[in-house]
Subunit: 208 residues, 4 copies
DNA sequence: TATGAATGAGCCTTCATTCAT
DNA sequence: TATGAATGAAGGCTCATTCAT
């Protein structure tokens, strides 16, 4: 029996190969043979590590969510002072990850599409919900922090805004994937300048 | 030969049936037989109106874009005074359309996913680009209008912001589809309050 | 929709084609494509009538049991006078059916083999049991009739003997299939002469 | 190189393991991995002793024929006086072997089924023919002996009867395998009482 | 024109066999 | 020698499309 470590490494290699192919051709458009070829292994070998094409999609999904989560968390953990800066930096970090994995973004769409297919809906939706949930919590916490620090106006609902912000970043990532000329970070900075100004505006008005 | 009018009516009926089924089961998960059954016709008949399943997806796509466009335009055409109000109202109109066609939103994902499939990528991407382009133009025009009316600060890039705003609304619609408890219009109003405050904030600062 | 009658006719044609191929090549050795070719239809068509290869094996099984049952019953229903004659004639009728369907006998072995495969064991075994059960009942009834008519000795167990007789005929059929030079009917007449003499022997001894 | 003896022992162990698994799951239903596991060796090791799965089936077949033959011969060699007793005892010995190896009987069916598969038909059929041939010869010899000893009537064909008797015992064995509640030896004694009475009946009639 | 029975290309998956260790 | 990971040929089944009615 080979070491568990070797096995896991091979699984990872297959997952990354599958991620590339799924992202490029979509789930339905991908042949198991394509993935095997991309991973440099035989078709049968793949089935020693994953029980089905669908199972492999799940594995790619979890891997991707982890990866994105890690990028985001790294971005956050290295944040500095003000809530404003943290928010902007968080968005940029997420979008930076999107840009760096541009060719992977197609995956997200495949995941959404897969969550439509009734058979597997449940498994995907739940993890999606959790992933986005954590993410939104993080953003909401930063907004709340800003409010408590008297940086932001007090009459906003952190959770509603967080949901929207997360959506915005998602959409910028999507757009960057769709149109490689689009610069999502630039757009985000431009946007955040306005948005954060809005978050601070109440203090401004109060000061008037 | 039946009248061209009758033929078009039947095509529409098939398109709407296909839209429902695609939205529910996804493109890959949909059988041509499902669509025929939903449309109340025979499988063979369908091929007298559309040359292939893919062709039908295109038809649904065009139909959907038109429909969304119309909703949006209706929303815009009934707008009132200030650019701020117009922007908020436009977003709400779009989201209202999303909510009303909630069960159709799955289509958008299918369209995105389809645009990944290399075979048909081109056709979709172009129409997508055009649709979103028009939409962004509209939003950018409203922002420009606000700037010119001295309603908004002058140091923003209307096109960048427009791209972001459109993305935000898209994302809220997606989230509403994904989580039926999510209230996108409420979220949008909360968000737009902040965002528009930000757009006006420069004037505020200037006035200080 | 075609008439139910046409559909049933086609099903029968497929079943007979499948029976020929299964008998010739065995279940495992048979390709679905072989059966389709033998039936003169496309592979896909077969699946409009049977949900799987295994399902088709069941259909062949039921068809075969019916057919054998019918032959047997016909043989019995036209029987004449004495229980001795009836028994011999029944055996001959069964073996006659075996000879006529010689190329089908392989099926029986496939059925037995299939009943080993755990997945389907239950379905087969039960019908087998019933089929053989009826058959044995019939033979036992004839022996009982012979006893009551004072044709046969009274100290025999009709059911035990019936089980054995049925087995004997089965085995002669098997042997005839295995070795085309073997004449099962001749063997059966030779055997039944002795066996029936044995059944009558007690009376003979008594008469001494 | 290990001793030839060790090698043969290991081969035997594999054969017995294969026999158990083939009998339980059938040839087609058995994975080579199952056999290896049952034999407590690796899959690859198996191929150092047998060149293929089919080859292993042949080995099991020869092993089984030997084993059955041995049982039978043991039964015969310990037989006593009269031909009647010898015949009954032989049948009982065979059936006793069947009962003792009940879980192995499935093998016989697999062998029959395998002999249907055109690829290997020849090899099996020949050995089957030989095995059954020897067996029938033995029975025919006993019947002839009975005739010569004036124990049995003279107007019977020993070979035809022998073929039938062997078939009967085979069928009783099959039935015992199929229905574990069936008592083949009891059935055989009941049957042989009648059959041997029939074989003696001519003398009776002559004496009248 | 409308139908759905017929079709077969295409693809996922299995598993006997090989081979590097 | 022993192993089990790797392999890919083979085959069951699906489903978009065609076609006879």
């Amino acid at each position: 029996m080979v070491s568990e470590r070797r096995r896991q490494e091979k699984k990872d290699r297959i997952i990354r190969a599958a991620a590339r192919v799924f992202a490029l051709k979509g789930y339905a458009g991908t042949l198991v043979a394509d993935i095997a070829a991309e991973a440099g292994i035989g078709k049968g070998t793949l089935y020693q590590y994953f029980s089905s094409k669908e199972d492999l999609l799940f594995a790619v999904f979890y891997w991707y969510m982890d990866k994105i989560g890690a990028s985001t968390m790294v971005g956050v953990s290295t944040l500095t002072q003000t809530a404003s800066d943290k928010l902007t930096a968080l968005g940029n970090a997420v979008l930076q990850a999107c840009v760096e994995m541009a060719e992977m973004y197609g995956l997200v769409i495949e995941f959404w599409a897969a969550s439509t297919s009734s058979k597997i809906e449940g498994r995907f939706k739940e993890v999606f919900r959790q992933g986005y949930g954590q993410y939104r919590e993080l953003v909401a916490a930063l907004i709340t922090e800003g409010i408590e620090r008297n940086e932001f106006r007090k009459d906003v609902d952190p959770h509603l805004l967080a949901a929207t912000l997360v959506g915005t970043w998602d959409a910028l990532g999507l757009q960057a994937w769709f149109d490689r000329d689009f610069a999502p970070i630039e757009a985000n900075e431009s946007f955040m300048a306005v948005f954060i100004a809005g978050l601070k505006s109440d203090r401004c008005h109060q000061s008037v």
